[in-house]
Amino acid sequence: MKKADIKEAGVKYALLAIASVSLFVIFFIFFFLFKESLPAFLKLGPQIFSTNFNTKYGLGGAITGSLLVTAGALVIAYPFGIGGGIFISELAPLWLRRTLKPIIEVLAGVPSVVYGLIGALLLVPFLRDSFDMISGFSLLAGGFIIGAMTLPIIISIADDSLKAVPRDLREASLAVGATKWQTTKKVTFPAASSGIFAAATLGIGKALGETMAVLMVVSAITTPAAPWYDIFQSNPTLTSLIAGHMGEAYGLKVNVLFAAGVFLFIIVAFLCVLSEIMQHRIEKKFKGT
């Protein structure tokens, strides 16, 4: 008896130690990020929001760039992703679901460099010819590629969440005379909403943090586009700034790049909280209390 107790306590504390290590690592990362970026915020003050990075170390251009690219990516990834997830889980015949699901999961695992390569070689010339752009390297290309990259993940997670809804719910709905689409829209989808919002949050995080593909289809430019909302031009993003300049930066510039990391963190955290709030609203609406 005592031996079993000791073993159980041992396992419990070993797992506690491992979990603590991972929590510690995460907190250490946040702490380090904020600590290293503090000199930038203190020395530059509001200048950090200016659009000139080269001489004024302003991140304003990069912030708008990141937001625009993410918005573009999510405009593609959300409707097609959630729609695709609903189709595969609710509407597709079994043989189609069996073929599509593995393909989509493979696509979700393809490294971002590959998407970047496809973007640079195929998408950029195509955009250049279709929209008569100067070069085709643009935030639009970035939005397309990151949207394509985030799509398989959202489809996959949305499908998994929908499939996880218990059959009783669907069958009960159909039994009272609702059509398949009415069931999906009013019963299954709200029931799976927490999973779908998790997928949405993951999509935001992935799109915002994408570096390699952005560097390949938007380039490492530091001067912002004029005007700022022109998605047919190249523009810096927070990730391309960090990746492009960390190598040769020293002194205040390093702190500014860490500040870019802090901005990324803040934007992701804000969007995650927003997503959580919306999810609670929907759950409240459809589940009662």
């Binding site: 080269n54 070069s135 490492a220 430019i221 190249s234 300049h245 040769e248």
Partner: protein, 288 residues
């Protein structure tokens, strides 16, 4: 009976697997007296440094040179040398005083390993087009890069075609050399459409477009993106050595203090006939 068999297999197999794991952990340990020298920096110097390192590593058993990939750029290499993460910094421009000041404990010693020029390249369609742009003046290049000239028609190319301007990122030795020669100011602002972090990215971007201009180290000029004359002078070995090509430069390797011991072995290799043959092979100009 089966259970006994399984138990026996487990008793033999388990120790073997454990020993195999332990053995693989120790494969990282190299024998005594093998020193590793790390180099990193300019993407222009990278092909030379890499090839020389490969050959050098084959010849030398006790010294191995590791060239960092992807290269972090001249500025990045000097920074790594200042911090002590590498022993050799490749640079396609001389070190700046501000960089020397940043690392007062490091005595940056300069060794010139090759001569190079920064060639201006254009897309094949621009080069071969009806009127054809086979050469530009410094003033025209400056006008293009600062945005005053926006149409290829203004410099002799197809009119009605916007100019797709490619440059290198800040911190690039190639960029600093180009900006110094064309703008007389390394930190001038440009109206470039794209910035890239390596010579090969610029070359790909210009070759893959129909309206692009860019600048690369001499070793990166190819038929897919032909180079043009600048002020009437083509970028060739002869003009660069003579100094008549406006954008000439040396390629350097920086070390902490004069190279000694193993580092000296590698630098001597690069300066030897074999090393300089590699320099020529990669499209650069051997040190005279």
């Amino acid at each position: 009976m089966n259970n006994q068999k399984n138990l026996a297999i487990k008793k033999i197999l388990a120790p073997i697997i454990v020993l195999a794991f332990i053995a693989t952990i120790f494969t990282g340990c190299t024998g005594p007296s093998v020193t590793t020298i790390k180099a990193n920096g300019s993407s222009t110097v990278f092909p030379v440094a890499n090839k020389c390192a490969e050959n050098f590593n084959k010849q030398e058993a006790n010294v191995q040179v590791e060239v960092g990939a992807p290269p972090v750029g001249s500025g990045g290499g000097i920074k790594l040398l200042g911090e002590g993460s590498v022993q050799i910094a490749d640079a396609s421009r001389p070190i700046k005083q501000s960089e020397r000041d940043q690392y007062p404990n490091v005595d940056f010693y300069e060794t010139s390993i090759a001569a190079d020029g920064v060639a201006i390249i254009v897309s094949p369609d621009i080069y071969d087009s009806g009127t054809g742009v086979t050469g530009l003046t410094t003033a025209q290049v400056r006008g293009i890069y600062n945005g005053t000239i926006t149409d290829w028609g203004e410099v002799g190319g197809p009119s009605g075609t916007a100019i797709n301007i490619n440059e290198r990122e800040t911190g690039s030795g190639t960029r600093d050399t180009f900006m110094d020669a064309i703008f007389d100011d390394e930190d001038a602002e440009t109206q470039a459409t794209q910035s890239w972090s390596s010579n090969s990215d610029v070359q790909n971007a210009v070759a893959g477009a129909s309206n692009a201009i860019g600048y690369v180290g001499l070793g990166y000029v190819s038929n897919s993106a032909p180079d043009i004359t600048l002020d009437g002078v083509a970028a060739t070995e002869a003009t660069i050595i003579a100094g008549t090509y406006p954008i000439s430069r040396s390629l350097y390797m920086y070390t902490d203090g004069e190279p000694t011991g193993d580092i000296k072995l590698f630098i001597d290799y690069i300066l030897s006939t074999e090393g300089q043959a590699i320099v020529a092979e990669e499209g650069f100009i051997p040190v005279q």
